[in-house]
Amino acid sequence: MTMSFPSSNGLQQQVYATLGDYLRRDPTVLHPEDSLRDDLGLDSLQTIELVYQVESAFDIQIPDEDFGRLQTIGDVVTYLGERTGLTNNPVLPTKSSAKAKKTSIHSTTNNKAIAQPRSKSSTP
């Protein structure tokens, strides 16, 4: 889904919402210091998928040369702030003492979004 560009605080919220949706986590438990790899447990393909979700949500393209900058959630917020022209000076949530657990990721195949057949029969 393409979003209209929000204010900086709104931007932060939308970034968190997008990341939370992909990570299947409550956005409020995400923290700017969270490392995509070490804290969220994303492998390289999952990181690519997450960036893909961000690209889709904000209707931008992130070039390969910028990809390496996106190591933490805060990096993503900052980067999007720069790209969207919004000053990103958000009051980001501080990281709680509880370290974010590794998480399972959102379905990448999203079968319901594909033109899956709908049977008229409720029983197989």
Binding site: R24, L45, I48, E49, Y52, E55, S56, Q61, S104, I105, H106, S107, T108, T109, N111, A113, I114, A115, Q116, P117, R118, S119, K120, S121, S122, T123, P124
Partner: protein
């Protein structure tokens, strides 16, 4: 001497039941899993010559929090994973105790991840945004995505292969997996057949090929009718079947229940036509004889055939010609049935599902009905085909499968003794 190979576990996701128990009960009732397709998401069914299929509307992959593998793959591989989990459980294998290098995976897949494939293709052509193609597109649509994800899920580090020979894919997969064990490359093989390509493009393609039944759109449960005079094409289905193969030595050592033995296998080509079998049925007969030879047995030992029998006008007749050529007059004494009469043609899954039905029949001494065999076509009628269940103590059976691309595959399964 090559290892003997036995079947020690089974799992299934089918249009008449998810799980072996549910499937088998429904099969013995002659229950049909064919139903109307309401739509393809937002796409209406107008313009599709056929609008029915063997669907599994109740299939839901596990929640990603419960199964991190299913969420990574397309519907067909999700079904393959589910069938495999049941098969592993059914086999009693404790994977953690096994040497991973001795556990392999062999998949038979005809179409693969077409759901994601079609979606991404459509989006690219509609919106011209190549950077919006999903990063998981390639790993999902490669035909070995099911065998790959299953190897990850079960921790199998032995051979990890996919056979794609259209409708015969998973009979080939079982045969090739048997060879892996015979040749000492593995002690255990997870063999899965899977396809879930009741998708707008694939379904339209089969419609355009005029391969699908169109006569019974208002009575979908009657549309798949192998060997019957009113048959007019096959009905597409979706599903997955998994069997666990082990060397007899390995299975015996862990005191596993042995359902049947995979005694023989043959693969041939007719080198004739991409989608039509040769009319004399002689290459089909040759394949059956080669499989019997591989099993070191003769036609007279066979008392049941799970036929390929897709319900096409030409195909069923040619298969019976082949059976007559192999068995002569004795063909009338052999029990024959068609699992596709119940669930439609599940393409890459069909061979594995047929092998499961055959294994259960050998184990339990009963074969399921051939649904809708109400008006036998004289060109392919046999005494051993029936629209009701048939009980008989069975010792050996053939599983036939023939695929686009002019290929044939036959397995010989034996009751274990």
């Amino acid at each position: 001497m090559a290892a003997r190979v036995v079947i020690t576990g089974m799992g299934i996701v089918s249009p008449i039941g998810i799980g072996i128990s549910e499937f088998w009960k429904a099969a013995l009732r002659g229950q049909s899993g064919i139903s109307p397709i309401e739509s393809f998401g937002d796409l209406p069914m107008e313009g599709y010559r056929s609008q029915i299929a063997g669907q599994i509307p109740s299939f839901q992959p596990p929640h990603p929090d419960e199964d991190k593998f299913s969420s990574r793959v397309d519907r067909y591989a999700q079904m393959a994973l589910m069938a495999t989990r049941e098969a592993i459980q059914n086999s009693g294998l404790c994977i953690e105790r096994e040497r991973p290098e001795r556990l392999g995976v062999m998949a038979g897949v005809g179409m693969g991840g077409m759901m994601m494939g079609e979606r991404e293709l459509t989006n690219l052509y509609n919106f011209h945004k190549p950077h919006r193609v999903h990063p998981n597109f390639i790993p999902t649509i490669t035909l070995n995505s099911a065998s790959g994800i299953i190897a990850l899920a079960v921790g199998g580090k032995g051979p990890n292969l996919t056979v794609s020979t259209a409708c015969s894919s998973s009979v080939h997969a079982i045969g090739q997996a048997m060879q892996c064990i015979r040749q000492g490359q593995a002690d255990m093989m997870v063999v899965v057949g899977a396809d879930a390509s009741i998708t707008p493009l694939v379904f339209a393609g089969f419609c355009s090929l005029r391969a699908l039944s169109t006569r019974f759109q208002d009575r979908p449960e009657q549309a798949s009718r192998p060997f019957d005079r009113k048959r007019d094409g096959f009905v597409m289905g979706e599903g997955a079947g998994t069997i666990i193969l082990e060397s007899l030595q390995h299975a015996s050592r862990r005191k596993a229940k042995i359902y049947a033995e995979v005694a023989g296998y043959a693969a041939t080509s007719e080198a004739y036509h991409m989608v039509i079998p040769k009319e004399d049925g002689l290459d089909i007969a040759r394949t059956m004889l080669l499989a019997l030879q591989d099993a070191k047995t003769e036609p007279k030992t066979i008392d049941y055939v799970n036929a390929h029998a897709t319900s096409t006008i030409v195909g069923d007749e040619v298969e019976v010609k082949g059976l007559r050529a192999v068995f002569g007059k004795r063909v009338e004494k052999i029990l024959v049935n068609a699992t596709k009469s119940l669930i439609g043609h599940t393409l890459g899954a069909s061979g594995a599902i047929a092998a499961i039905a055959t294994t259960l029949s050998l184990d339990k001494g009963i074969i399921h009905p051939t649904a809708n065999y109400t008006d036998p076509d004289p060109n392919c009628a046999l005494s051993g085909i029936s629209a009701t269940t048939q009980k008989k103590s069975l010792k050996a059976a053939l599983v036939n499968a023939f695929g686009f691309g002019s290929n044939n595959a036959v397995l010989v399964l034996k009751k274990f003794s």
